[in-house]
Every structure is written in structure tokens, then in C-alpha cells.
């Protein structure tokens, strides 16, 4: 009995993290057919936001409740970042999902390196460059003959701004030394410590349910309900659903699809930020954080099918349960009658082999349901 409970809870806790990570991805993918490879990095940003909020509130009376503030902050930060990404890159690539995939992968590399090397000097340098370059082009754009000189003007301007920014940040580094050159986070990773009331766990018999896992399950449930409510009960949710179902028809009916896209992308990214808060309670917060979850999140989306939240929920639960049961060899005792089955399950009862098994099962599953558990009804959408 305890064993069964343990399996269910173990699977549920893995599944809830997966679902939280996949939720934002699923919405964005359902709406735009865009795979956001930088989703994991938005989670990482969320985790780092948690770290910042935690440290900011360390000595204040709110320090035990920082996690709630972190949730809000992470959502906002990641959502804003998502909005920027959508406005500057993704927007130009609609209808080309494969290119989007590559571009967002590039963004994910940049974000990883950004977390490692961001310092005041770095920020000052980039800021100066942006100020000079965009300010300069704004001024130049006033000139009547801008169209003719545009190419050269921008080249010269870019070069000049880069040079000035470089010199400026170098001078900054020379004068203030450590105060500005020290990386904010560094390569080493940072510590996010759960507040006191989240440490330890709820004992049930000789098993203990970790509070952090419980918290994540509750958080996931809250997010799912929140999204459900948003999609089904608000005007913008209605618009998002409409565009998901038929983009051109919605556009004809006067729905601002561009705004819907941007909003959805920001929402999905914000959810990734929330997921980042959750995973910071479980694992490491470093520049690699996002990479650990991203592919699993894809699998949830693919298995669940596009366009229905319920698909992702069931898929995440199933994948979580299967990986837990295989990884901890929970079936081992039940099949001890057959030596072959026993050794078979033991072979797969390691973290990496459990993953092999789960992914192989996913590929097999898609043989029977190529469009996922809950495919969209009606004509197939060409990707």
C-alpha cells in the first residue's frame, strides 16, 4: 500500500514539474505552431529571479514568504523577456516553425552565456552601445536623404558605437575594478533555499511527502486552473482560443491576431518563469538549469496533442508516473516470479535507462496516436 502511494506520489511530483514546464510551451505551440527552444532558459531566468528576490528579502520580515513574491516577479520578468523576444525575432518568422526553432535555440545560447557573464561592466557596455546605436539611427533617420545613406550610415554608426561602448566599459572596469567587473551570478550557480515552512515533509507511515513537492503540485494545479479560467472566461482567452482554431477566420472577424500572438507568447514565457521558481526549489540554479527540463517538456506537448490543456495534463502525469515507476524499480517486486522480467526491470532501473525506456515508449505510443492523446478535431493543421 505504502509502495503504491509512494509510486503515485512520486509520479505525480515528477509529472507536476513536467506539466508546469510544458504548460507555457503547449499554449504557444498550440497557438502559433512555434517551438520555443529558449523556453528552458526562461525557466532559468525565473529561477534566478527567485534567487534575487530571496536575497533582497533576506533580512526583512517577509523573508519567509519570499517565494510568493518570487512567483510574481518571475512571471513578470519572464513574460517581459518573452514579449521582447516575440517582438524582435519570433514575429518575423511566423509560418516558418523550423526557422523559429533554430532562432530560439540561438537565443537560448545567448541567455545562458548572459547569465554567466553579466556584470555591471557588461550591462554598461551593452547599454552604451544600444543608446548610441539606436539613438544615432533615430537622429539620422530624421535626415531627408536617409534612404540613400542608410547602409553606410548604419555600418559606420554600429562600428563607432561598438568602439565607444568597448572603450567606455574598459575604462569603467579599470577605474572601479571589482565593483563593476564582478559577475552578478557567475558560472558557479547560486543557492535558492526554500523557506523554513517548505523544508521537511509530511510523514505518512514511514514515508515522507516533501513539502516542496506538495507545494509544486498545488502550484501546478493553481496554474492550470488559472490558465483554464483565463482561456475560457475572459475576452482575451476567447480570442486566443479563436486564433488557435482558425487564424485567418479570426483575423477576418477583427481579432487583432498580432496582439494575440504577442500576448500568448508573453503568457507562455511567464509560465516558464513560474516553473523556474518551482524547479529552483528542487534542483540547481545555474546556467544549465533550463536544459535539464526542456526536452521533457517537448515530449509532454507532443504526447498531449496540440490545442487542449487536458492533453498536456494527462501526458505529464503519465510520463511522470512511468519514469518514476521504472526508475525506482517499483514493479520489481511484482514480477519477481519471472527472472527475465526481473532482470529486465532492473536493467532499466537507473536514471538514464529509465529515460531511455520512457522515450522509447513515447515513440511507440506515437505510432498509435500520431497526433497525440487529444488531437485537434477537424482538418489537420499543416505545420
Amino acid at each position: 500500500m505504502t509502495q503504491l502511494l509512494e509510486s503515485v506520489f512520486g509520479g505525480l511530483s515528477i509529472g507536476s514539474v513536467l506539466l508546469l514546464a510544458a504548460l507555457g510551451l503547449a499554449i504557444v505551440f498550440g497557438l502559433m505552431g512555434v517551438i520555443n527552444m529558449a523556453h528552458g532558459e526562461f525557466m532559468m531566468i525565473g529561477a534566478y529571479t527567485t534567487f534575487v528576490v530571496q536575497n533582497a528579502l533576506k533580512k526583512t520580515p517577509l523573508s519567509e514568504l519570499y517565494i510568493f513574491l518570487a512567483l510574481i516577479a518571475a512571471f513578470i520578468v519572464a513574460a517581459l523577456l518573452g514579449l521582447v523576444l516575440e517582438r524582435t525575432v519570433v514575429r518575423y518568422l511566423y509560418g516558418r516553425p523550423l526557422e523559429t526553432l533554430l532562432a530560439t535555440w540561438g537565443v537560448s545560447l545567448i541567455l545562458q552565456q548572459f547569465i554567466r557573464s553579466v556584470s555591471w561592466q557588461f550591462v554598461a557596455g551593452v547599454g552604451t552601445f544600444c543608446l548610441l546605436f539606436f539613438g544615432g539611427s533615430w537622429v539620422l533617420a530624421r535626415r531627408p536623404n536617409f534612404e540613400q545613406i542608410r547602409g553606410w550610415a548604419i555600418a559606420v554608426l554600429g562600428l563607432l558605437s561598438a568602439l565607444i561602448a568597448l572603450v567606455f566599459s574598459n575604462i569603467l572596469g579599470q577605474t572601479f575594478k571589482l565593483a563593476v567587473t564582478k559577475p552578478w551570478f557567475g558560472t558557479q550557480g547560486v543557492d535558492v533555499t526554500a523557506p523554513k515552512w517548505l523544508r521537511g515533509g509530511l510523514p505518512i507511515g514511514d514515508y515522507q511527502l516533501p513539502y516542496t513537492r506538495l507545494f509544486i503540485i498545488v502550484l501546478t494545479a493553481a496554474c492550470v486552473f488559472g490558465i483554464y479560467w483565463f482561456l475560457n472566461k475572459t475576452p482575451w482567452g476567447l480570442r486566443i482560443r479563436a486564433v488557435t482554431q482558425n487564424r485567418s477566420m479570426s483575423a477576418c472577424l477583427g481579432i487583432p491576431t498580432k496582439t494575440v500572438d504577442a500576448l500568448t507568447f508573453a503568457l507562455g514565457s511567464g509560465l516558464a518563469g513560474v516553473a523556474g521558481v518551482a524547479v529552483s526549489l528542487l534542483g540547481s540554479v545555474s546556467s544549465n538549469t533550463g536544459q535539464a527540463y526542456i526536452v521533457d517538456a517537448f515530449m509532454v506537448v507532443v504526447v498531449g496533442g496540440v490545442g487542449k490543456l487536458i492533453g498536456s495534463i494527462v501526458a505529464a502525469g503519465a510520463i511522470g508516473l512511468v519514469s518514476y515507476v521504472i526508475g525506482s524499480n517499483a514493479l520489481g517486486p511484482f514480477v519477481s516470479f519471472s527472472p527475465f522480467l526481473k532482470s529486465f526491470f532492473e536493467f532499466f532501473a537507473t536514471a538514464s535507462m529509465a529515460k531511455v525506456m520512457v522515450f522509447a515508449l513515447i515513440i511507440v505510443f506515437l505510432q498509435f496516436r500520431p497526433a497525440g492523446l487529444f488531437p485537434q478535431k477537424g482538418r489537420t493543421v499543416d505545420a
Binding site: 509512494e6 512520486g10 511530483s13 515528477i14 518575423y92 545562458q112 552565456q113 554567466r116 542608410r150 547602409g151 553606410w152 548604419i154 555600418a155 554608426l157 554600429g158 562600428l159 561598438a162 568602439l163 568597448l166 574598459n170 571589482l178 564582478k182 557567475g186 558560472t187 558557479q188 550557480g189 547560486v190 543557492d191 535558492v192 533555499t193 526554500a194 523544508r199 521537511g200 515533509g201 514511514d206 515522507q208 516533501p210 513539502y211 516542496t212 513537492r213 526549489l281 528542487l282 534542483g283 540547481s284 540554479v285 545555474s286 546556467s287 544549465n288 535539464a292 519514469s323 518514476y324 526508475g327 525506482s328 524499480n329 532501473a349 537507473t350 536514471a351 538514464s352 529509465a354 529515460k355
Partner: protein, 439 residues
């Protein structure tokens, strides 16, 4: 569809031009146009031509191992800077060429080749994981070059081309197991590790040692390097040791964080499940969070809390260069002293280029290290080290609960493991070499 054209292209080209500028500002890596570029076994290199001596620094600055290796680079650069400020080596400044191994073993190998053949460095300081060391080993041996390796490792290796300044198993793993056996009499052991050479070999040694001394191993499990899904392992530990026991932990990198966070969540604290870690030092404690580690043990040769004047100076210098909130740890100390040991060897040999001479001169070099006085490079290319066990305390540093009062001599070939029992290593005697049968 949006029009992409000249404008964007020009932005692109200007960034490219910008990077060229960056390059111009970066410390120039002059490639010596020497006559024999072919990869001839380089007993002599052109590293010391001019008024600088070039050395290579080869660690992961990206990928899963960057979390640990970046700070080792910091320590090496600190030592080089100090040496340069004190007048350099043989009157020449040291110029460090840093390469990123990217946590990828083939990349390590490629970059090692590049440092040796292209940059003609006098020596290379580098590597952390045993997998990366094993990957570059053939390159160093075939080119007869020199690597200084600063991390505790599993032993069972004794290359002429490597100087090991981290602990051999008898300077870290074996004493810590002995200590555990004494302190927690009759408790079972569970071995957890990342899935690569070091933990596998370390656990083989531990199992042999426990078998010889009457300890009991109830389980052994591995997580892939960089993996963070630890829930199944924790269930297994719980199932194997329901009444508590010792966790011997050789996880590396990010996995540690997930492991300790979830260990605590499962209610398995250090009172019932004390753990001994061999890859968690001050840096890692900070990344994991003190709250999760308080009361757990780690075995090292050096802790920041070691009390002696050399250490005080080292810690102060490091904090001055990298910030007050930084900490130092064992591999960083080993990395720091290995640069000094190399410098001493070069000064004794009066050349940095003739690696054969430097190698001979390095043997017997003594240094007053932060870990304690009288640390010596032995004839088997390993150094004698103090052995310490620390308990994580509130401020994230270690309370030293056990320490030897003098350095322990290194034994690279393990004496508990059947295959290597009775073997030893001595590079001072050409007849003996890397592996010979002791009589």
C-alpha cells in the same frame, strides 16, 4: 513577410567588425612562427622565446562542469599574477592562454593539441573530471608534454607527463572511510556517484576497502553526469537503509544540488543519514545552500578554515582579486600551489622549455602551502598532502573535525584493489617508471 535586406546585413557586418575590434583589444596570443611546426615529440618547445613564458590553462568554462572549474581558473590566474608581480619566472613574465574545454572530452583533447602545437606552451594547467584527463592523456604522452592536474582523483594512474597535485585515494577516500567506520560503527554504506570514471573507480576502491575492514555496502547507484532527476535514487536509499546509514557521495556538478535538496525534503537528515562527500567543497556548499548541507561531512586536504599564515594570505589575496563574498576550496588551493611548484621546478631547472629537465627538477620540490607546511612533490608525480574531514557549519564553511598533523604520502596504485596490489610508481628511477612491482 518582412523584408530583410541591406540594413540587417550591415548590422551583422558591423557586429563582425566589432568582434574584430574586441579581438584587437584582447591580450594578443602571438603565434610563434617557428621553423618546425610538425608535431614532433616536443621535448623542447619555443614557449620561452622572447620575454614571456607561455602556459596553457584548460578548463571547462561552459557546460555542466563550468560550475566547478571556473573557480579553479580564477585560482590559477591569481597565482600567475602573483608570480608576475614578484618578477616572474627566470626573469620572464608568465602569459596564460585560457581555453574552454566546454565540459566535452573531445574538445579538451582538441584544445590540448592546439595549446601544445600551435601556442607552444611550456606546460598546461588543467582538467577537472577524470574523463577529461583520460581524454587528453594520449595527447600528452604522444607529444611528451606536461600537464598539471589539480583535482583529487581515483588514482590507478601514474603518467610521466602529468603532475597530480590533488589527492590520491589514500589521501582522501581511504582515510574518510576509516573515519566513518570508526565513528559510525556497524552502519551500512550506500554509494552514490555520477556515472563516469572517478566515482566508479572510487567506489570500487571503497568496496574493496570495506570488504577488508568489515564494513557493509547495501547499495550503489549512479546518476549520469549533469542529471538532476534524483527522486528514484532517494527512494532506493530509503529502501536499502530504512533505519539510517551512511551515504558515501561522489556526485559531481549540478546533480549534488538536486540530491541534497531532495534528500532533506524526504526527511533524511544528517542525524540518521550522514553523508560523506568527496566533490563538495566551499564553492559547492554555496551553490547548494547551507541549510541543506549543515551537519554533512566532506573529506578534503584543505578547507578555507585551515589556520596558518600562508592560508590567511592566500584567502586574503583571493578575496581582494575576486570579491569579498568569494570562497576558496581544495581544488583551487591545489591549482594555486601547482603553479608555484611548476615555477620552483623551472627555476631549479633554469629552463622552462626543456621539459625533461623541468620534470626531474620538479621531483622533491617542497612548498609551504595554504593547507600546511612541507607539502612535497614525490617521485611518483603526486604530492604529499594533509588529510582533513570537515563538517558543514552555519556560515557555509567547514568545521574541521579530523586532520592529520603531517602530510600523508601519496599512493597512486591502490593497495586494496586486487589488480593493483603490490604495484608502485617512481619516476626518479628510469628502471621503475610508472608501474612496477614492489618487492
Amino acid at each position: 513577410m518582412a523584408q530583410f535586406g541591406r540594413r540587417e546585413f550591415i548590422i551583422l557586418s558591423s557586429t563582425a567588425a566589432g568582434s574584430v575590434l574586441l579581438k584587437a583589444c584582447a591580450p594578443s596570443t602571438t603565434t610563434g612562427g617557428t621553423a618546425s611546426p610538425e608535431a614532433s615529440p616536443a621535448a623542447t618547445t619555443a614557449a620561452a622565446s622572447g620575454d614571456v613564458i607561455k602556459v596553457g590553462i584548460l578548463h571547462s568554462l561552459s557546460g555542466t562542469m563550468a560550475i566547478s572549474e571556473k573557480s579553479v581558473v580564477d585560482a590559477e590566474q591569481l597565482a600567475i599574477e602573483e608570480i608576475n608581480e614578484a618578477g616572474g619566472v627566470l626573469g620572464k613574465k608568465i602569459e596564460a592562454i585560457v581555453e574552454d574545454g566546454a565540459s566535452d572530452w573531445p574538445t579538451f583533447n582538441e584544445k590540448a593539441k592546439k595549446l601544445i602545437d600551435q601556442d607552444k606552451v611550456a606546460t598546461i594547467f588543467g582538467c577537472w573530471t577524470s574523463a577529461s584527463r583520460k581524454a587528453v592523456l594520449p595527447t600528452f604522452e604522444s607529444k611528451n608534454h606536461m600537464l598539471w592536474y589539480p583535482v583529487q582523483y581515483e588514482g590507478q594512474e601514474c603518467s610521466k607527463n602529468i603532475f597530480y597535485t590533488g589527492a590520491a585515494p589514500n589521501q582522501q577516500i581511504e582515510p574518510s572511510v576509516d573515519w566513518l567506520l570508526k565513528k559510525y560503527k556497524g552502519q551500512p554504506f550506500f554509494l552514490v556517484g555520477s556515472d563516469y570514471v572517478f566515482p566508479r573507480t572510487a567506489n570500487t576502491i571503497i568496496k574493496a576497502q570495506l570488504a577488508a575492514k568489515g564494513g557493509k555496502v547495501v547499495g550503489e547507484d549512479y546518476i549520469p553526469l549533469g542529471g538532476t532527476e534524483v527522486t528514484p535514487i532517494i527512494s532506493k536509499i530509503k529502501a536499502a537503509m530504512p533505519n539510517g546509514g551512511i551515504i558515501y557521495n561522489s556526485l559531481n556538478g549540478d546533480s549534488n544540488v538536486a540530491f541534497f535538496k531532495q534528500l532533506q525534503g524526504a526527511g533524511m537528515g544528517p542525524d540518521k543519514y550522514p553523508s560523506m562527500s568527496v566533490s563538495i567543497a566551499e564553492e559547492e556548499v554555496r551553490a547548494i545552500g547551507v541549510e541543506y548541507l549543515k551537519g554533512h561531512y566532506a573529506a578534503w586536504n584543505y578547507f578555507q578554515t585551515v589556520e596558518n599564515p600562508v592560508n590567511e594570505k592566500f584567502v586574503a589575496a583571493f578575496k581582494k582579486k575576486y570579491g569579498e563574498d568569494r570562497v576558496v576550496n581544495d581544488p583551487m588551493e591545489a591549482a594555486y600551489i601547482m603553479v608555484y611548484l611548476w615555477k620552483q621546478a623551472v627555476e631549479k631547472a633554469k629552463t622552462a622549455d626543456d621539459l625533461e629537465k623541468v620534470r626531474v627538477a620538479a621531483l622533491g620540490q617542497k612548498i609551504d602551502a595554504p593547507e600546511g607546511p612541507g607539502v612535497t612533490m614525490e617521485n611518483n608525480h603526486h604530492i604529499s598532502k594533509y588529510v582533513r574531514i570537515g563538517e558543514v557549519r552555519d556560515d557555509g564553511l567547514f568545521e574541521i573535525v579530523y586532520a592529520t598533523d603531517k602530510p600523508v604520502k601519496p599512493i597512486p596504485w591502490n593497495q586494496f584493489v586486487k589488480e593493483t596490489k603490490g604495484y608502485s610508481c617512481d619516476w626518479s628511477d628510469p628502471a621503475k617508471g610508472g608501474k612496477y612491482k614492489m618487492t
